[in-house]
Every structure is written in C-alpha cells, then in structure tokens.
Symmetry: C2
Subunit: 193 residues, 2 copies
C-alpha cells in the first residue's frame, strides 16, 4: 500500500526503512468520489495529497468566469495549493477537484512539521519536490508564451499520453489556454495529417 508513495519520496533522497515508517504513519488514506471539490477558492489549503489512483485538476476562475487549469495530477503525483496557503495564512485562489474516483494519501501541515522534527531528512526531499514543481511550471510558462496552440497540444500529448483519453477535451483546452472549439479544429487538422 505504501510502496508507491515511498518510491516517490525516495526519488532524490535515500531513506532508512525506519524513516519511511514514520512518514507512512503520518499519512491519512482517503477515497474520494469523482467530481468532488477538495479545495474551494477562499479556503485554506490544509493538505498535500498524493494521488494513489485517479485524476485531479487544479484551476483558477478568471475575471470573466472562465476556468484556467493549472495542473492535472494523476497516479504518483502530488497536488496541493502549497504555494500560498499553508505557509502564509492566505486563503487560496484555486480550486482542486477530482475528475475520477480517487484514492489519496493526505498529508497535513501538522504532520509535515512532525515529520521534519522526527526525520529531518524529509525536509530535503520535500524541497527537491518543490524545485521540480517549479521547474515544470517554468517550462510551462515558456511553452505558453512561445509556442502555437498546435505545438502546445502535440507537446501535451507527448507529455501526458494517457490523459487525453481520460479527461474531457475542453479541460485540455483550458489547460493549454485555448478555446475548446479551436482545440477541436486543431484535432481534425492533425487527424487528416
């Protein structure tokens, strides 16, 4: 049950079995049905969720009421609005919603503090996780600015090969920053080579 998450957290730092045990004891297993909103705008985000199974999206709602998807998380990914709310006591501006029935390990800020006290090496692992997250976001910003819609879509397919089968097209359009109609046009053009 814990093998997935232990593998994930050990990717850049090696832990003793004992340390992993402490880590695992601080996680809360949770199943959530699809279309459940885990975090509303204006709430404090008091969790980091590791996706064991399922698919989640994180999104903003812009001034005109349009959703902009910032992140999809599938198996073995973390999702949270860690960036602001946990450490700054600012309410979140994002929503987090399950798109499929999900299984999570939920990790609370308190548990995280406890973990860092009991096994300080985890501080490092979580810092590196954060760095990778930053790198990915930065890369996405670059793509958003400098690539055409078609290029972005092809890149998306390559990067998330399973996701285009699992989530609705208009979510992918929202992630790419284009209209659902235009994505549809791109797809028909690609299909005809």
């Amino acid at each position: 049950m814990y093998s997935q998450i232990n593998k994930n957290i050990s990717r850049y730092v090696t832990f003793e079995p004992k340390e992993l045990e402490i880590f695992n004891s601080l996680l809360e297993y949770k199943t959530v049905p699809k279309k459940t909103i885990l975090l509303h705008e204006g709430e404090m985000c008091n969790f980091e969720a590791f996706v064991i199974k399922g698919c989640v999206r994180k999104y903003y709602i812009d001034a005109n009421g349009f959703e902009v998807i910032l992140q999809f998380a599938i198996e073995n990914a973390w999702i949270s609005d860690i960036s602001f709310s946990i450490y700054e006591d600012k309410p979140s501006r994002v929503y987090i919603e399950t798109l499929e029935d999900c299984e999570f390990f939920m990790f609370s800020p308190d548990s995280k503090e406890e973990l860092f006290v009991k096994a300080p090496k985890f501080e490092r692992a979580f810092r590196i996780l954060m760095q990778r997250n930053l790198a990915v976001t930065q890369e996405r910003l670059f793509y958003t600015i400098s690539k055409t819609a078609t290029e972005k879509y092809l890149e998306f397919l390559e990067h998330y090969p399973t996701l285009s089968q699992r989530v609705a097209q208009h979510y992918i359009a929202s992630y790419l920053g284009i209209s659902a109609e235009f994505l549809s046009k791109i797809r028909t053009k690609i299909a005809k080579h």
Copy 2:
C-alpha cells in the same frame, strides 16, 4: 553589508546571530558590469545569486531565436536556475544576464550543503523561498493565459513600479509575451487615456 541579505533570509524563519554569521561566511561578494552573461544555455548553473544592487534578467531562447524573459531580479531578489541544473546535473536551458552594473552575494551548491549541515534551520528558509518562487510563477502563468496584453502591462507596472524606468521596453514586452511594437501601441493608447 550583510543586513539586506539577512533581512531577506529571516523573512519566514528567525535565526540566531550565530547562525547568520555562519551563513554570511559562506557567501561570496562579487561585482559584475552590465551586459555580462552569468549563465549560458548548456552550462551548469552553479550559483544562487542574491542581488544587492542592480538588475538581472533570466531568459530562454525559443525555437525561432526569440528571447522569452522568465524573470527580472532587482535589489533583494534571488536569481538562479536552481530548478534544474543544481540538483539534476542537467545543463541549463536558460541565460542569466546583468542589465545594469551589479553587486551580488553568490552562494554555491557546496556552500549551501555546508550551511545545511552546520545550521539545518536554513533548509527550511530556502524551502519557503522556493515555495514563494513557485507561487509567483504560477500566478504569472495564470495571468499569461487569462489576461489581455493591456491588462498584463498594467499589472506589470503596478507590480514592478521602478522596473519600467530601468529596463528597455522590448525587455518588458518579452517578459509579457508580446511584441515590442504592440507594447508601444498599448502605451500610446494608455497615454491618451
């Protein structure tokens, strides 16, 4: 001399004078003339630089040879390509260049390791710095996707009030992801109310 950087690093974690002394002893002071490239694409980024004075830009070059500015750093900001190169041994895809004569404190990966051993509380401070960085990048991604060029420019002016006086317009255009010509048109339109 160290007051600026100590204030910066103490923003979310409180340190003993002794700890700050260790930190300061590991920094290297450096002055760099304007238009100097600190990091070329393909190199390893082996520093994190704290800007004491001056202005720096970090940018990608896209497939068509266009520069896309990811970040400006002015006084009291950190700049690095920390996200990839330091921890993954991957060469950097970005350039970092001074736009004005600059004073820095340079912080190397080795010094950072040494610091974390001698004063582990810094691990936490640097993790939080990273989180803020992620939050800012995420916010920018949202703006890039969901706002018009005019809105982005006005937001930029509000957020970096001094920067529009200090750097060339076409750099700002590149940061906003629009052409320099179009920014000029936006500016004349704004000027006429």
